[in-house]
């Protein structure tokens, strides 16, 4: 009898704890998704404020992607709506989170995944933390106790903020790369992908399939982060998962990166000038897929034209 009582007490304790966490999660959840709302990675999460089912192409990855792809350039040259859900040091568990969040409100036909994140190490701890935070957002937003007001507690969540550059982060500085194209010396060696990373990519692929999106692997030019061994690793993975793979580090004729002028930090990330070249190639690539329709003349997408005009004003050289 005593054991049954103790088990009952234990279950009650766990249920009470779960209730407490659910309640506190409701309190701590940001009630909007703008700059000072407390929303994590608010630029990437600006996709939550985009009109339902309005995004054609989703870009995922770490800082490599948000420095390389300019969605408003794609809009202006091809008429496709795209959004960069890139975050600094993104690990694949968070890539999954961003993808799931996007699919809740959007139906992109193409998902482009920058491959640097595929090699970024993460642990079981990251996965568990991300999963637990998905259910109990108090773990993710607990720090909001510093800035929250009493009025926010009861307010319903309304995500209306959209990022004016659609997730792209404008970098205009120039710091020439130390290496030139020699960083891609051919080799047969393959840099293995960690098991936990591979499983995550497989889940991402499955999620894309289930939502009718085509997954494309994409390596943006980076002398610091990319090499032939990594290329071989991703190529093998792409073959296995039956995905297309674009490695711009090898397409030096199609995307002639000038490593003296096109990088913001010695070859690590593209600056605006490099990003323009990368985006130009991607824009053409997307056109060739034949999966997307030009929406520039669609009145429902008038805001995109306005956003592009505003974006052009802030750029050193207009697109």
């Amino acid at each position: 009898m005593i054991y049954i009582k103790r088990i009952f007490v234990f279950i009650m304790f766990i249920l009470g704890l779960a209730g407490l966490l659910v309640g506190s999660s409701y309190i701590f959840l940001p009630k909007s998704n703008g700059l000072n709302s407390g929303m994590e990675e608010f630029k990437a999460n600006g996709i939550l404020g985009e009109k339902e089912n309005s995004i054609d192409v989703l870009f995922l990855g770490d800082s490599e992607i948000y420095c390389s792809v300019i969605p408003l350039q794609i809009w202006q040259s091809s008429g496709y709506t795209s959004y960069v859900c890139g975050t600094s040091g993104q690990t694949l568990d968070y890539t999954e989170v961003m993808l799931k969040r996007t699919f809740e409100k959007q139906s992109p036909k193409i998902v482009v995944m920058e491959t640097n994140a595929i090699y970024r190490k993460f642990t079981v701890k990251n996965v568990i933390f991300t999963k637990v935070s998905d259910y109990f957002s108090v773990f993710r937003y607990h720090n909001r106790w510093k800035t929250m007001s009493i009025d926010e507690i009861n307010k319903p969540a309304e995500y209306t903020f959209t990022d004016e550059s659609k997730g792209y982060r404008l970098k205009t500085g120039i710091k020439p790369a130390v290496k030139d194209n020699s960083y891609m010396s051919p080799t047969d060696k393959i840099l293995p992908i960690e098991k936990i990373n591979r499983q995550s990519v497989e889940r991402i692929k499955k999620l894309c399939d289930e939502n009718g999106a085509k997954l494309i692997f994409f390596s943006t030019p980076s002398t610091k982060n990319w090499n032939y061994m990594r290329h071989n690793g991703i190529e093998a993975l792409a073959k296995e998962l039956k995905c297309e793979y674009i490695d711009l580090n090898l397409l030096t004729k199609e995307v002639p990166v000038d490593w003296k002028n096109d990088t913001v930090d010695k070859g690590d990330h593209m600056n605006y000038f490099g990003a323009k070249k990368v985006t130009s190639y991607l824009s053409e690539y997307l056109e060739n897929t034949g999966l997307l329709a030009d929406k520039r003349n669609d009145s429902d997408y008038k805001t995109w034209n306005e956003a592009a005009e505003e974006f052009n004003k802030n750029c050193p050289n207009k697109i």
């Binding site: 103790r6 009650m12 506190s24 701590f28 079981v124 701890k125 933390f129 108090v138 993710r140 607990h142």
Partner: protein, 532 residues
Amino acid sequence: MFSIATYFSVEALLLLLVTVALYVCLPQKARRYVLLISSYVFFFSISGKLLVFLLFSTLSVHHIGLWLSDVQNECSIRTKGLEREERKALNAEYNKKQRKIMAFACILHIGLLLLLKYTPFFSQNINALFGLLGLQLRIPVPKFLIPIGISFYTLQAVAYLFDVYRKKIPADRNLLRLALFMSFFPQIMEGPICRYSDTAEALYEAPKMHYGNFVLGSQRMLFGLMKKLVIADRLNLLIQNVYGEPNKYDGFVIALGAVGYTFQLYADFSGTMDLVIGTAQMFGIKLPENFKRPFFSATISEFWKRWHITLGTWFKDYIFFPVSMSKPMKKLTTKARKKLGNRYGPLIAGSVSLFCVWFCNGLWHGAGWNYIFFGMYHFVLILSGNIIEPVVIKITQKLKINRSAFPYRCVQIVRTFILVCFGEMFFRQESLKQGFKMFGKIFTDFTFKTLKDGLLFEFGMDRQDYLIIIVSAVLLFIIGILQEKGIEIRASIAKRNIAVQFAVYYALILFIVVFGAYGAGYVPLDPIYAGF
């Protein structure tokens, strides 16, 4: 791969949950194996192949213990029925043999520790000396991978052998029991440093898990988690900044960094101890306490009886007493008594022993001059305290000051705390030169400018961070006062009705979840003592 970084990791929690589940489900005889396997999994997940060092130490301790025991048995058999003189001669012969075995054991275990932990430090200093002497000679500076917890389990091993040698305990013929004593997973990384007589039997018995122990152990673990996540990790940004670039800051910020680091170290180490002792308590194992509210200490001596207690008692039992009771020291005491009298005479030999203890204590913490200085700093403080104590007593008597009165004790506590903070400042600062610079700045460049210009909030710590640290410190202070008064808080909570218990646990959990320094923007603090 499954790898554990600290006790405060999800992986460690998973291992604990699996261990608890197996421990509860399996019969008594299998439980000890569960503990042993979990311990080796824990060690392997941190140190990998370096597990071989732990295995080596365990096997050699087992073997040497039996060797000593055999010699002792042989001696007692051979001395039976002998005349006193013959018995004495034979005992002396066997004692000599035992001493040789002990010397071998010390060379093996302490030698391995010295080799792995201190060779690079010694080599660097020898090379520096060659440089100073103008010699071109250089010896290579090796780099070794050090198994986690080696400083802790080596002391346990040596203590076991000395206890066998002194016939305090019989040598253990059961390798499993000894292996469990050496490797018990909650304590292998940061202690407490256990004696064989404290834990070996209980671990081997692997008692049934009791609901009461489970509740009390869980409470303590939660409290430890609060100290670590809310205080130690939150202070990390401030400490990293102040100690990283001390030249940038004025005396006030340096003093804040010194107090902050002392508090951080306490929160980190005592928090880990709460987790360790709480975990063991869940299994029904009582580990020795390592902390007893050290900031309530009136003197430095008292502080070290309340801070890292098991290390202090280890040094007392295996260094201070053996050195004090050695023949040369006895002779020195006799001579000193004649010249300096009964009050100060014994202090000479005592000082030599004290010096050995504090030199070893400093060096045990790490291979660096800052650690040696840290040891010497406390040696000087304790020694000068011993020397001037009679003078202070006389002065206070003349001035009619009640030394046991509350205000006097408060002054002593504050003084001790300040002295401890200075010591910890040198302990944390890797460069001794920088340590002295920081120390000097507190007295030469002390202004409250940083408070006015807002620089204080530029270390990644804002007003709310400081506020929550102050609130937590007040909370710990109140709990400390209650504990000093002998109130057993955890037991009294466990006695309350279930609604009150739940409310307390939920409040503590929510406090940790909301105010813990984890997630984006925070860099968790690596367990400080695990690095020693």
